[in-house]
């Protein structure tokens, strides 16, 4: 199923170079916020214990401390962490999310403060209904606070560099004997399909033998459709060997 909303935000620099951010989905954001809520609860429990110590001197002051402390922790938690950790809270760190300026510029303190203060209406009437619905329908998955502060929440790109020597050893690779076709293959393979192939090779021993054969057949057929190599370059290659050769073509460059 194709999403109507783009999941990436592309930015073109004045130099004409385009880079993009992967936008976090409302579900991932909700998960991150539930982790943050747990962190806020823990912080409040700790603060409550401190207030109890104060209660031995003045019950009224301890009560005031609890009321003010709860409010301050709830409001300031995300502001301080996003400021100190450049757009991340504990939940966002765990889920690999980051708040960014919508134009790719450096995040400013007023932006962080605003997006977090405006949570108060995003949370209305319950469970972030306003913010959640706005994020689902907005083009850049922004809740109201993000719109006001010109921020987006992105998924951090994990630099998952497969161990190419393990999955596709540097043996003779007949596909590389056709450098122009190899380059074409590199340009056509999507990150998702490459990642899928890496995963298939890495987990091959865990598959049922028949399922493994089918999986590599389908993967090889997909890559063959992208670029057709001459018969002499691919003869006697099994589907799995073909997929490993393709991975060497895609990732082997970095070893150079």
């Amino acid at each position: 199923m194709k999403s109507a909303r783009p999941s990436r935000l592309s930015i073109e620099t004045p130099e004409g170079v385009v880079f993009s951010f992967e936008l976090a989905t409302p579900v991932t954001r909700a998960l991150a916020w539930s982790v943050d809520t747990a962190a806020i609860v823990v912080a409040n429990i700790i603060f409550g214990q401190i207030a109890k110590l104060v209660a031995t001197m003045s019950a009224d002051f301890a009560n005031a401390l609890s009321v003010a402390g709860f409010f301050v922790i709830s409001v300031v938690y995300a502001i301080v962490l996003e400021w100190r950790w450049r757009g991340q809270t504990i939940g966002k760190r765990l889920l690999g999310l980051r708040v960014m300026d919508i134009h790719g510029l450096r995040l400013q303190f007023p932006q962080i403060a605003l997006r977090n203060l405006l949570r108060m209406i995003d949370m209305l009437p319950f469970f972030y209904l306003v913010g959640g619905l706005t994020a689902v329908f907005s083009r850049d998955a922004q809740r109201l606070g993000d719109m006001a502060a010109n921020t987006i929440v992105t998924r951090e790109r994990k630099a998952e560099i497969p161990d190419i020597e393990q999955i596709a050893p540097a043996k003779y690779n007949s596909l590389l004997s056709q450098p122009h076709l190899a380059a074409r293959l590199r340009s056509l393979v999507t990150p998702e399909s490459a990642a899928l192939a890496v995963r298939a090779v890495t987990l091959r021993d865990g598959y049922d033998p028949l399922a493994r054969v089918v999986l590599f057949r389908e993967l090889a057929a997909y890559f063959r459709r992208l670029v057709e190599f001459p018969e002499e370059s691919v003869e006697n290659l099994t589907d799995e060997q073909y997929v490993r050769c393709v991975l060497r073509v895609i990732y082997g460059v970095r070893q150079g």
Binding site: V17, F19, F61, V67, R106, M120, P191, V253
Partner: protein, 326 residues
């Protein structure tokens, strides 16, 4: 066009690594300002990596390699193209930034005050025309009694009814009022409609209470009760309303040609200054309300309370009107 990818990567990687190290250093010490040669080097590395990314785009893709380079370019871009103030928090700037932000958007404040006054007028006339509407207009337990009864109770009280709970009462007032102010500002995202409703409603309550007490002949009590904290609390909520209308104005963008995101970007520092200033005012108002406003004659003479409130109002007006003028 890249003819030999491995050779290209081998040649460029030292520059990518150098840029990454430079950016990591800037992340670790955000307060440090780079010397000119380092800035020039950063710019050179950014341009070189951008060119590399553009070349990779035109020829071949190793997904992870492209991803790494994209991340690097985006990080450098945010450092190179940022023209706003550096991320240092300067207290003096905050102290003067608040009144300056207030004065920059005086129209929004006037609108906020005007709507509240309209609400006051509505509440006033509603109570005068139909005294039985009190339960609807002022749904607060403390205001149900007749003013005469309330004044009698307050002025003849033999013991402090807030004894042992003044600090917690104060904290509750602060947090509640700050929440109301922030929500009033945030409601600007409804194109100002939510802000307008909240301000009007606040005005209605204020007007109804005033009508109730003044009609009963307790104007001095009312002024002595409300002015010490109200002279700070009410302007703070009006500031929240001002923020809401600034936000709404940026969303609507009447007469301007700039993009909505640019308009919102332009007002963000002012909004923050206003809401932060209002929050500080409400902390003060909360303390005054718990420790001064709730005490009446003979504990604190009304004249003294009113004088205190007037002094606060004058000081606040002077601060918002003149502080940071150039």
């Amino acid at each position: 066009m890249i003819v030999d990818i491995p050779r290209f990567v081998a040649a460029e990687r030292p520059y990518w690594d150098e840029l990454r190290a430079l950016l990591d250093g800037m992340d670790a010490e955000p307060e440090t300002r780079l010397a000119l040669p380092r800035i020039q080097r950063l710019h050179y590395l950014y341009e070189r990596c951008s060119a590399g990314l553009a070349r990779l785009d035109t020829f071949s893709t190793d997904p992870a390699l492209r991803g790494q380079l994209e991340t690097l370019v985006s990080r450098a871009y945010s450092e190179i193209h940022e023209t706003r103030e550096p991320r240092k928090i300067r207290w003096k700037a905050i102290l003067l930034g608040f009144p300056r932000a207030f004065r920059r958007h005086l129209g929004a404040f006037r609108l906020s005050a005007g709507i509240t006054l309209l609400g006051c007028a509505f509440g006033w006339f509603a109570i005068r025309m139909d005294p039985h509407s009190k339960a609807v207009l002022m749904p607060f337990e403390g205001l149900f009694n007749s003013p005469a009864e309330r004044v009698r109770q307050e002025e003849t009280a033999s013991k402090d009814r807030l004894s042992g709970e003044k600090a917690s009462f104060s904290a509750q007032l602060m947090t509640h009022n700050i929440r109301v102010t922030v929500v009033t500002l945030a409601m600007g995202m409804t194109f100002g409609v939510g802000t307008l409703i909240l301000l009007f409603y606040n005005g209605v309550i204020l007007g109804a209470v005033a009508a109730d007490y003044i009609a009963a002949g307790f104007g001095t009590f009312l002024t002595g009760w409300l002015l010490p904290h109200g002279s700070v609390e009410i302007p703070a909520i009006l500031l929240g309303g001002q923020g809401g209308f600034i936000l709404a104005g940026a969303l609507i963008g009447w007469g301007g040609r700039t993009a909505r995101s640019e308009r919102l970007r332009a007002i963000a520092p002012d909004l923050f200054a206003i809401v932060a200033g209002a929050a500080v005012m409400l902390v003060w108002a909360g303390m005054v309300e718990a420790f001064i406003s709730q005490y009446h004659k003979p504990v604190i003479p009304y004249g003294l309370k009113i004088a205190f409130g007037v002094c606060e109002l004058v000081a606040l007006s002077a601060y918002l009107g003149w502080a940071g003028r150039e």
